[in-house]
Amino acid sequence: MKIDLKNLTIAKVRNSFLKGEYSAVDLAKAYLETIKLRNKELNIFLEAYDDVLAQAEAADKIIKSGKAGTLTGIPIALKDNILIKGKHASASSKILENYVGSYDSTAVSKLKEAGAVFIGRTNMDEFAMGSSTETSAFGPTKNPLDVSRVPGGSSGGAAAAVAADMALATLGSDTAGSVRQPASFCGVVGFKPTYGAVSRYGLMAMGSSLDVIGPIGKTVADVATIFNVIKGQDKMDSTSLNVLSKSERLSRPHLRVADLTKFIESIGKGGIDPRIMKNYKESLDKLSKLGYEIKEPKTDLSMIKYSLPAYYIIIPAEVSTNLSRFDGVKYGFWKGGEDLMDDYKKTRGEGFGKEARRRILLGAYVLSSGYYDSYYNKAMAIRGVIEKVFKEVFEEVDFVATPTTPTAAFKIGETTSNPVEMYLAEIFTVIANIGSIPAISLPSGFVEEGKVQLPIGFQLMAPHSEDNLLFKIGGDFMGEVI
């Protein structure tokens, strides 16, 4: 039977399973068929696991016994930096090309418990460093809506998988926008939880003070469902915490959204597509019609503009530390040299791609004595101030809104020569990571380029730990009944 993958949601699938319209095996086969048809061209999946149908068969047994869980039989894919025991995970890097996960990440354990079927691992920028999936050691992923363009990054494969109907939902990771920006470029929903809301145990570390695992799906309801399964304080991650299940702000007569037009135009410096600004205003109007109060905040937001430069000091520093474990000794790629030091240098020189090497050296620079104070310490102090600014603005509003990105998906190869130009793609998303607040990207429209309609996204941010608020406003914006 032909299953209409395009319009599926988790709720629809569960209903169909209950009614016996199709089985988990039927559904898994449908996704595997799409992968077979288009993956060679799109390079979304690095690997479709060889036991998908076996997993689906086990799910069908559970469904027949009447004991189906929240996600039983639901096909989900994982970004290549999230560990699942016994399966390859390489962070799209040559240095981990043949690495097999020796344990399940907490997020995966929780999805397993809920009955999910894992289809495979999706392509990403190497070690999550990038906004286009072009730094992958295994070739770029193409945007399913226009194969001459990038899907965004670093969770480009994860977002493209949902857009191309190769998975019903996926897990990505977001450190400066790596879930939200590709979701925006691919026309799907991407959610970055509050830092700590999802355990990082089993997520390959890039920027430990910023990394968050986040779900990508077609609807806010699906993304919320997955988040509620994977969230929770975990003794294996000392930075994890429990977020609020229901915000007190929901008892307010109406919720308030900050219109950041002035701020956006000041940091965008003319690099924002005017059609995106138009869509931003239309999105705010849409919320206003839905009963949200749109207001220009009085709080001085100017310090927030230092988010991106502060990020590009903090992240190389943390990356250089986190990637020092890859030395060809304990796991991964090894290249032998004349002596041990030479082993390290050759292994890392050859195993790491250009962007990884660049950020490692930059990190060593900003952490070296003489520079530590003026770069790293100053960036961390700026970070503290930005957190404070957000706390202040959330005293007068409940949400902060921006476009997700300054442009729609760019062409493959367009920005790879200039590192700073690539970094600017995350200028609106990074502020949520630096500010330690949750954020969601909602597909809000299209811009036309030639004959193609390229998706664009509308981003909403909420106060720390109030992730549930984003599902409320997101659901309203998307016209979903949650």
Binding site: D327, K345, G349, A364, Y365, I382, G384, V385
Partner: protein, 94 residues
């Protein structure tokens, strides 16, 4: 502008072998990135108070209840590129 000597020093510290071409390319790239991030220097020290970053801190578990010795060893050793029995093998250190 960062010098080639500095790039070489950083590569040494990072244990990464770079070709001469790669060093020049990095010199250029790092130069542009540093130029971009330098704008944080314009933030006056007065505007910044010693900020504590959220409530992130290290938590150690109690040093008790160890797991049974050896139950994870095979899984972990299987990943090592060079292995001899239950040892990870490396070139001589001293």
């Amino acid at each position: 502008m960062i010098s080639i000597k500095e790039i070489e020093k950083l590569a040494e510290l990072s244990r990464i072998a770079l070709s001469d071409d790669e060093e020049s390319a990095l010199q250029k790239d790092m130069g542009s990135i540093l130029e971009y991030v330098d704008q944080i220097k314009s933030v006056s020290a007065g505007a910044l108070v010693e900020q504590k970053m959220g409530s992130v801190k290290n938590i150690f578990r109690e040093d008790s209840n160890p797991h049974k010795s050896g139950i994870f060893s095979d899984d972990l050793l299987a990943a090592a590129p060079n292995r001899e029995g239950n040892y990870v093998k490396v070139k001589k250190i001293l």
